[in-house]
């Protein structure tokens, strides 16, 4: 690979101080370090050796953990398409093809728009291009509906990267999770394209089968608040004739139902979670506590039972909507989550609790996990503040005893 190194070394002077493209040094640098791990060595004083981990590897580990969700997303987008147009017998190739032509452009647009912003900011601010967006750029497409206009993906991504991240100083400084900010922005700015009947790609040339309403498990739950029907019965009844058992508990777990592109399968999220736990990149404490918080709150709702949605068995909350995806990939974002170990438990439990609260009490926003995580992102520093204060108090008390 010497020729590649030589090629890079030969153009390098142009980007260094005094070179003709001096301004674009950090763009060059990003590509150089992507190809070659740099040759920097440790300083005279301080540690003489360093751990082999770096930010790129850390972020890539998260992306690797997202691969099951991405692959499933491609298949399921196609599968739901053929289900909805009444051709469930369509071949696997056809399904994957539909999935690919819907999902890949969204992924591509997300990366192109986000990285463009990153490069511009790195150039203006004169700092290295941060790796954080590698993960955000994959998360954003996976929480979009399959039929989202591409320009909205670009707009949401650009908004999130600038407002949620760069305005605060870049990766590591942001308060809100970048991917969720993108989704929340689109949700409130263009509700028509990200809520209601958007979760299955039909295509203008096709007709949906009779009985297809575009409902999601959460919208059925939300309707139950007003019509008072038993949610489990409604879930089981949906899809009769064209997709039996679409919203059965097991199907919700496996994820073969319409929803955000890559967030429907609890199973795939759990595979990703295992990857994150084994590699130690994602905090298992947060994931476990989000599930525990949601389940506990679900049980509490059962006890109160003020409306039909509250009577939904608590375990259903864990498989509906994006709770699993949010818990595994969004809540564990180390920058926007609580940073102390005790804080992580509190943070996770409150996300779970809030998610269910939003679901059952606020039918206007059927998906609670997005807002719950963003809300707790804001409160994470406060949780940490009290945990840190406890540490300080222990030290003070020790002095006075």
């Amino acid at each position: 690979m010497k020729f590649l190194r030589d090629a890079l070394d030969s153009v390098k002077p142009h980007f260094e101080k005094g070179g003709k493209w001096e301004k674009f040094y950090y763009i060059y640098e990003a590509h150089d370090t992507l190809l070659f791990a740099p040759k920097d060595t440790t300083k005279t004083k301080g540690v003489q050796i360093r751990d082999a981990i770096d930010m790129k590897r850390l972020m890539m580990t998260v992306i690797i953990s997202l691969i099951p969700c991405l692959l499933f997303a491609i298949y399921n987008t196609g599968y739901q398409h053929f289900l909805a147009i009444g051709q469930p017998e369509a071949g696997l190739i056809d399904m994957l093809w539909i999935g690919l032509i819907k999902v890949i452009p969204i992924v591509a647009i997300s990366y192109i728009s986000g990285l463009t912003v990153e490069f511009i900011f790195a150039t203006i601010r004169k700092h290295e291009v941060n790796e954080g967006f590698l993960v955000s750029g994959m998360l954003i497409p996976l929480v979009m509906p399959p039929d989202i206009p591409l320009w909205q993906v670009a707009l949401g991504t650009i908004f999130a990267v600038i407002i949620a991240k760069e305005a605060f100083g870049g990766t590591g400084m942001n308060i809100l999770n970048v991917a969720l900010t993108a989704r929340a922005f689109l949700y409130f700015a263009y509700p028509g394209q990200i809520s209601g009947d958007v979760w299955t790609y039909i295509g203008s040339a096709n007709e949906a089968v009779a009985g297809f309403t575009g409902a999601t498990p959460l919208s059925i739950g939300a309707e139950a608040v007003t019509n008072g029907k038993n949610v489990v019965a409604s879930l089981n009844a949906y899809g009769e004739g064209w997709a039996d058992g679409l919203f059965s508990f097991s199907n919700l777990f496996w994820g073969f139902y319409p929803g955000s592109i890559g967030a429907t399968s609890v199973f795939m999220c759990l595979i990703g979670a295992v990857v994150l736990f084994i590699t130690g990149v994602g905090s298992w404490k947060i994931v476990v506590s989000v599930f525990a918080g949601a389940y506990g709150m679900g049980l509490l709702c059962n006890v109160i039972g003020a409306n039909a949605f509250m009577e939904l068995p608590a375990h259903y909350h864990l498989v509906m909507g994006g709770l699993a995806f949010g818990a595994v990939y969004m809540a564990t974002d180390p920058v926007s989550a609580a940073q102390t170990e005790l804080g992580k438990w509190i943070y996770g439990i409150l996300i779970g609790v809030l998610t269910v609260l939003i679901r059952v009490f606020n039918p206007a926003y059927p998906e609670g996990i997005m807002l719950a995580i963003l809300f707790m992102n804001v409160f994470a520093p406060l949780i940490d503040y009290y945990v840190v204060n406890a540490n300080k108090k222990r030290r003070l008390q020790r002095a006075t005893v």
Partner: protein, 454 residues
């Protein structure tokens, strides 16, 4: 009141090149150096010798203008051949070309029974003028102890848990008598206890096993269990306004020898270690020895880094460099100034990491000895990962928050988060494991300087 403390947090870095447990013979190096840079807080060193002067072992060669009573003395007899200065004429080294036979300055010698009769003031005065005083380090700040202050306790770590660290059993073999005398003298300097902390997982060395007048505590666990700062935290933590002293067993022995024999004896055993040393083993020499004689012809080819001390807290020196005041080892590892194609993602069983992110497999093979070069393996970034520093610091301290408080120069927070309890070495592992490649030790020193001087 002896305690047994089991530590769970921490991390052992298993490096190749451990020293074989034998003391090899080699001709003594020509030059020895005294490095004021080994100490924190010597701001205005004043030289008492010039190039060409002849000195004996124990002849004062410099002092700190802010702390005139504490004399720093020559470790060996011979001629001062070079006074090395760095930027802004900062004094780096006083280099002495050693005599073939070391001559010693004469100090008063005492019999063991006489020692009890010495007053605290006599002891301090002799220690100050004879050059053994700088062995005493004060916490907070990790600076040379102030003789006008009475510490609440003195702590001695009797083992080193750093990577490739020398075995103290070999280092201090046969010095029991001097060690005990040193302890008895130190006992006069504090109303509190002298804590002697040994490794619970190894046989207690003869030197330490029968020591009287101390509280013998046992520590078990991975590095940094051997760091005296960690031990203090678990035995008798430093609160605001309190002062404790720490000393290496080497210093205790020097003190004992000074009073019993009347000489400043700077002889020491050092370990020559590291993956690039052909024959890693121990050698007997003197404080501040040039490493050249031990490594010439004894290292592998390629670009190498010579380190005075261990790989976590040591300092890079040249091939003819000298050991620092507190160092009992020299480590030689490969330099890492090379590119690696897709090095940031390529999986490899040879990459060593505390973590287990994709492709880092060293956790599967904890007993393997690794060769680690000096490459930074990544570039500096903002803080992203959380919860990792906490796993390598066995103290009730929140390292990330402490570091951020230092960076923000928030004095109240630094104090409240425990800056008085740490010095650089205690957070060295945090610096090693940091995915964002911060210079944690440098940051800690910045914080200590802020607390001390402003």
């Amino acid at each position: 009141m002896s305690k047994f403390i089991r530590l769970k947090k921490g991390f052992n870095i298993n490096l190749a090149g451990k020293a074989e447990k034998k003391i090899a013979e080699v001709e003594q190096p020509g030059t020895f150096a005294y490095k004021p840079t080994s100490f924190q807080g010597i701001l205005r060193p004043k030289l008492m010798v010039a190039e060409g002067d002849n000195v004996k072992a124990g002849t004062p060669i410099l002092f700190d203008k802010k702390n005139e009573e504490v004399k720093h003395v020559a470790p060996v007899s011979g001629e001062v051949v070079e006074i090395r200065r760095g930027e802004k004429r900062k004094l780096l080294e006083v280099v002495i070309l050693a005599d073939k036979k070391i001559e010693y300055e004469k100090f008063d010698s005492h019999s063991v029974s006489d020692l009890t009769g010495l007053s605290k003031e006599q002891v301090i005065e002799t220690m100050l003028k004879s050059g053994v005083w700088p062995n005493l380090i004060q916490r907070p700040y990790g600076i040379i102890a102030d003789h006008n202050v009475t510490p609440k306790a003195i702590f001695i770590s009797a083992f080193d848990s750093n990577p490739l660290a020398p075995d103290y059993q070999l280092l201090f073999k046969g010095q029991d008598q001097y060690f005990q005398a040193g302890i008895d003298l130190l006992k006069k300097l504090t109303p509190g206890a002298i804590h002697l902390n040994v490794d619970a997982n190894a046989e207690v060395s003869q030197v330490f096993a029968h020591t009287k007048n101390v509280e013998l505590n046992k520590f078990s666990g991975p590095h940094p269990a051997g760091n005296v700062g960690v031990q203090i935290h678990h035995l008798d933590p430093i609160n605001k306004g309190e002062v404790v002293w720490t000393i290496n067993p080497y210093g205790v022995i020097q003190i004992g020898k000074l009073f019993l024999e009347g000489i400043y004896d700077a002889s020491k055993v050092i370990a020559v270690t590291g993956s690039e040393v052909k024959q890693p083993q121990y050698y007997k020499t003197y404080l501040g020895a040039s490493v050249k004689r031990f490594l010439e012809g004894n290292v592998n080819g390629g670009k190498l880094r010579y380190i005075s001390g261990n790989v976590l807290t040591g300092e890079k020196i040249s091939t003819e460099g000298h050991l620092g005041f507190f160092d009992h080892m020299v480590t030689v590892i490969p330099e890492g100034d090379h590119y690696e194609l897709f090095g940031w993602i390529k999986p490899s069983p040879n990459k060593f990491s505390f973590q287990r992110a994709f492709g880092l497999l060293s956790y599967l093979n904890p007993n393997k000895e690794y060769v680690i070069d000096t490459n930074t393996k990544g570039q500096p970034r903002a803080f992203v990962q959380t919860g990792v520093f906490e796993r390598v610091l066995p103290m009730d301290i929140l390292p990330t928050h402490l570091i951020k408080a230092i960076l923000a120069e928030d004095f109240d927070d630094m104090e409240a988060l425990g800056i008085y309890e740490v010095i650089e070495e205690d957070l060295a592992l945090c610096e090693f494991v940091d995915v964002s490649k911060h210079d944690v030790q440098e940051i800690v020193r910045t914080g200590l300087d802020l607390m001390q001087y402003s």
